[in-house]
């Protein structure tokens, strides 16, 4: 669900096919009938953007029929915890949770806390009335100021009206099968079938897994999509067990790595939060705010100081607070789309783009291209000349006259990059496996690895600033920046960098083997605490390539998984509270009377007995009881209800996409109130939604996606002859019904338009697209692959040009999986006429909209 496994991860899909052949039920729930659906036992079509309704319905089905895995839920989740009476649910507030502040358009998340305690998140900060952001929300494992691991008030019977279990029950009680069918456009029978199969395949003897991808994340309420699945998996006892869990099918070779060792604004390696400008006076406040007294986040200080030692070496000392005062501060949001806004306003002067193609790959591509034309200088690093490098002479805006080459001030450097075969390094795959790839050949001419580029750029800058006494240059001059290099081009030694990431003991120089060894006294170096041990014993553990036939099915000696080479996180949950496997069939990790043992590295202290109870005053992991597997959480349990860490509510609620032809039949709050919008931005106009005039100008739902034959924005596939010929043209997928209604001809051309842009595509009329009846109204969905741009072996219009840039409030991700559009036969207008056409349609819509403006709680929509 929310993914297209067979098409976008074909080789990973071999395991699904094998499971199917062994009798597993494979269900694909997706707006389109894809190559994955074709392989599934069952395909359920649903309306793009209605997944929480569907999943919430499953939660309700489980709870109403008492089908949850009781023992698991009682001991391993926070179901028994009683919530503070400041919490009020969407059921009471018609689509809002308590704590909504219309002024800030944000929640005061302190009103969702456990009863009887000041909620206290870990890696994050929550002054100024907002909680931890971005990935902390997902990974921070926010905890509470628990005196020991147990929350103050619980009801083991799960009957207290304010215990999580009962709150959950009430929250989803209206997500009935009939309502789900109405809202998602599926049949009641199909919905029930999914519920029954999930339940039938969960419990002691069996486990079920969810596989999602950006079909879930790319929504204005994306994080909550995944949260809903998490609730189901907790209720059914599918977390921390073999064959269970929720698998994120990530789309780039090292997209996992680039969040673990982030090229993201709000975190440092290992999901340590960046200090915020508005908050944190000094180092101790920061430590205090980020260190959870209980759970593994209790060692935040050790992780932090080890990182500072890796960054600044001997320049970071206890006396200078490990240079804390000198560190750059972030704002609530400095994410890519915020940068875009700044760029359009001319506030960003320089932009370095390495291995990404925002001119095609990001929502509202036009805005990105116009923004590039506002830069003073731009550096693009790639193997081929991508649209982001060529925007100044061949972007669509040149054709429409919105840009004129001679008037673009941007100075552009295109630097050819080295391919994966031309450099050493590690990718972190979707299962958290660090896999090393060795260099095969030398890069030619000017081609260089990004390791080379950033190392030598840093070296030059440090040289230029070496003499500077300026305060602003103090930090860069304190950077530890010596790495051995090899070959004539002076390529930095990637393994030396990996060694720094893994860390060592300063006095002895001994390579660390696990994050447990990290110290908070500055005696250890570690560039990323969760990667600690990847260079244990001075051996590149990520480069281990022991054939799978020479080891167990878990293959622990192939590459290295973070943390501590653990293949399944929280695997203590694969045993019951007493430490016995839930069943023989599903045994994985168990307590043998003296220690934890099994197929995998236990995600628990090896000798902590199941009956261990933390003494008062216990800290960090000692404060976690022996029957609480979720050791990153302050209370050791998985969270059905998230008291801390999310921007938009402790429980997922169904909200319509930012742009939707339908109203929210559950709450008068139509869409996620906390979503980020560029309300007054002329560069990101919105389509009217149901209930507003002009909504019928953009009556259809569209969703964007990838094809097996191409890769993301096309830089790595439109440049390859053998791939270009397999999918040689941009096309749209429509149902025969829509084709008839809109007069579209199979094999002909169609023009698809939104308030942002209009693109053209070849028409593929197919039964695989089905009209859906939603809230008694028929809706059509249009499928648009987003690989194309103006250049390379196969070129075409970019689907992302159609998209708006409203974002999820937690992770600042746009909603490319569900928005509205109009469609008409024929090719789009050319030249200036194109811009005029888009404006004309927009005027049509907005003139009618302004008369019947829709006002929702917490948001007044303008364009």
């Amino acid at each position: 669900m929310g993914s297209n496994f067979a098409e976008n991860h074909p080789v990973g899909f071999q395991w699904v096919m094998e499971a199917r052949e062994r009798g597993a039920t494979v269900i694909h729930i997706d707006p389109r009938f894809t190559r994955t659906s074709a392989m599934a036992t069952k395909w359920v079509g649903l309306r793009a953007g209605s997944d929480i309704a569907f999943l919430g319905g499953v939660v309700n089905y489980i709870l109403q029929n008492d089908l949850h895995f009781e023992e698991y839920v009682k001991h391993y989740t926070n179901a028994p915890v009683i919530i503070d009476d400041t919490f009020a649910d969407t059921e009471e507030l018609d689509g809002l949770f308590s704590g909504w502040d219309p002024e800030k358009s944000a929640y005061d998340t302190t009103m969702w806390k456990y009863e009887g305690m000041e909620m206290h998140g870990a890696a994050g900060n929550r002054e100024e009335g907002f909680g931890p952001h971005g990935h902390q929300a997902g990974h921070g494992g926010a905890g509470g100021g628990l005196q020991h691991g147990e929350p103050p008030s619980e009801d083991p019977a799960l009957t207290h009206p304010r215990c999580v279990f009962q709150i959950l029950k009430r929250h989803y009680q209206r997500y009935t099968p009939e309502w789900v069918a109405e809202t998602c456009g599926c049949s009641v029978d199909d919905f029930i079938y999914v519920c029954e199969e999930l339940v039938r395949n969960s419990g002691r003897e069996r486990t079920s897994a969810f596989a999602y991808a950006v079909g879930w994340t790319q929504h204005t309420v994306g994080v909550q999509y995944i949260r809903t699945a998490a609730i189901i998996q907790q209720l059914l006892g599918n977390m921390g067990r073999p064959g269970g869990g929720i698998l994120a099918l990530r789309g780039h070779a090292s997209i996992q790595g680039s969040t673990d060792i982030p090229t993201l604004f709000d975190i440092l390696p290992g999901y340590l939060s960046m200090p915020h400008a508005e908050t944190y006076g000094d180092f101790d406040d920061f430590m205090q705010a980020n260190t959870s007294p209980t759970g593994w986040w209790g060692h935040f200080k050790a992780y932090w100081i080890s990182l500072m030692k890796a960054y600044f070496g001997e320049n970071a000392t206890e006396d200078n607070d490990w240079l804390f005062k000198k560190l750059p501060r972030i704002d609530k949001d400095n994410s890519a789309y915020w940068t875009l806004e700044q760029m359009i306003e001319g506030k960003v002067k320089g932009y370095i783009v390495a291995g990404e193609n925002p001119a095609v790959g990001n929502a509202n591509g036009k805005a990105h291209r116009l923004a590039l034309a506002k830069l003073d200088w731009l550096v693009v690093r790639d193997l081929v000349e991508i649209e982001t490098a060529s925007f100044w002479y061949d972007s669509p805006e040149i054709e429409t006259g919105e840009l004129t080459t001679e008037q673009i001030p941007t100075e552009v450097f295109f630097l050819p990059a080295a391919a994966h075969t031309e450099k050493d390094g590690s990718f972190t795959n979707t299962q958290r496996l660090l896999q090393w790839h060795w260099q095969a050949t030398e890069p030619k001419d000017d081609c260089r690895s990004d390791l080379w580029f950033y190392f030598h750029l840093g070296r030059r800058i440090k040289q230029k600033l070496a003499e500077s006494k300026d305060e602003r240059d103090a930090l860069v001059n304190s950077l530890r920046w010596e790495y051995p290099t090899h070959s004539q081009i002076q390529e930095p030694d990637a393994e030396a960098v990996l060694a720094e990431i893994s860390g060592w003991e300063i006095p002895t120089g001994k390579h660390l083997s696990a994050y447990k060894e990290l110290k908070d006294d500055g005696s250890t170096v570690c560039g990323c605490w969760i990667y600690c041990g990847v260079y244990a014993d001075g051996i590149n553990q990520a480069a281990r390539k022991k054939p799978h036939w020479e080891q167990t099915y878990v293959a622990p000696e192939w590459a290295w998984a973070w943390p501590a080479n653990r293949r399944i996180l929280y695997n203590r949950a694969s045993a019951d509270p007493e430490g016995k496997p839930w069943s023989e069939r599903k045994k994985f990790i168990w307590w043998d009377g003296t220690k934890w043992t099994g197929e995998d590295v236990p995600d628990f202290e090896d000798t902590k007995a199941p009956d261990y109870r933390p003494p008062d005053g216990a800290k960090a992991e000692q404060a976690i009881a022996g029957d609480h597997p979720f050791i990153m959480q302050a209370d050791g349990r998985s969270w059905l209800y998230v008291p801390q860490g999310l921007e938009d509510g402790p429980l997922p609620a169904h909200y319509e996409p930012h742009e939707s032809p339908f109203d929210n039949t559950l709450y008068s709050q139509r869409a996620n109130p906390a979503r980020q919008q560029h309300k007054n931005a002329s560069w990101d106009p919105y389509n009217p939604v149901d209930g507003e005039g002009g909504a019928d100008v953009y009556p259809h739902v569209f969703t964007t996606y990838r094809l097996t034959e191409h890769h993301t924005a096309g830089g790595m596939s439109r440049s390859v002859p053998y791939l270009a010929e397999l999918q040689p043209a941009m096309f749209c997928e429509v149902s025969p019904e829509l084709a008839a209604e809109a007069g579209l001809e199979h094999g002909g051309w169609a023009t698809i338009y939104t308030a942002r842009a209009a693109i053209e595509a070849r028409v593929l009329v197919t039964r695989r697209m089905k009209p859906l009846v939603v809230n008694g109204r028929t809706t059509h969905q249009i499928g648009l692959p987003y690989h194309w741009g103006t250049r390379m072996l196969t070129s075409g219009d970019s689907a992302n040009d159609l998209m708006h840039a409203a974002l999820d409030p937690n992770v600042h991700i746009m909603e490319t999986k569900a928005a509205t559009c109009g469609i008409r036969p024929g090719r789009r207008p050319r030249g200036k006429a194109l811009a005029d056409f888009v404006a004309e349609m927009r005027e049509q819509a907005h003139s009618r909209r302004s008369q019947e403006q829709r006002v929702e709680p917490g948001e007044v929509r303008k364009t």
């Binding site: 090292s254 960054y311 994410s335 003073d376 630097l415 896999q435 791939l723």
Partner: protein, 189 residues
């Protein structure tokens, strides 16, 4: 080759000599067919690599001869992919040897209408200067409230999901040092 051999190797004669009267089999095998060898057996060395496309992380074997990649195929040893690859992974060699691949620096002056050549060293030095100057011109030492800011909001860095962990590590480390906070990658899109 001697005339005698030429005649002896005439398939018509071999047909009868080798009893392959219909001339459908071995007797008509050509010299090339007889001496054929798979080019992966002629490689100077083989390197274990990982597919650069999606995050499944399939194992690849990269075959090299005379400093050039001659073939890329799946690595059977991988417990993830068991030697299999999808069309993209299978096309990796065509990707690293793409006809569109650029090998030299390209430079566009402000307001210019064409690319010009630029040598790598100069380019690196110019970029370093741009960073230093922009930082100096747009440095924010403290917030309006007087709290430390230590940053510039005038420079941004994008990309990383297709890069190595080691590369991302240096990017983040350098940007922290430089006070560049707008560091982002595909994880956001």
């Amino acid at each position: 080759m001697k005339l005698g051999e030429t005649i002896a190797s005439w398939p018509v004669l071999r047909q009868f000599r080798e009893g392959d009267l219909l001339g459908l089999g071995q007797s008509v095998q050509s010299r090339r067919s007889k001496t054929l060898k798979p080019r992966i057996d002629e490689a100077d060395h083989v390197v274990q690599s990982i597919c650069p496309y999606c995050a499944v992380g399939c194992g690849q074997l990269v075959y090299v001869k005379d400093g050039e990649v001659t073939h890329i195929e799946g690595d059977p040893a991988s417990p993830i992919s068991r030697g299999r690859l999808c069309p993209k992974g299978q096309a990796s060699k065509s990707y690293v040897q793409s006809p569109l691949r650029e090998y030299t620096v390209k430079y566009r002056r402000p307001y210019a209408t064409t690319w010009e050549e630029l040598d790598l060293e100069t380019a690196m030095d110019m970029i370093a200067d741009r960073v230093v100057e922009t930082r100096a011109a747009h440095w924010q030492q403290a917030t309006d409230k007087g709290d430390p800011a230590n940053r510039t909001l005038a420079i941004a860095n994008l990309g990383g999901a297709t890069l190595d962990n080691e590369e991302n590590y240096l990017i983040k480390k350098l940007c922290v040092g430089l006070g560049i906070v707008q560091v982002e990658n595909q994880a956001r899109i």
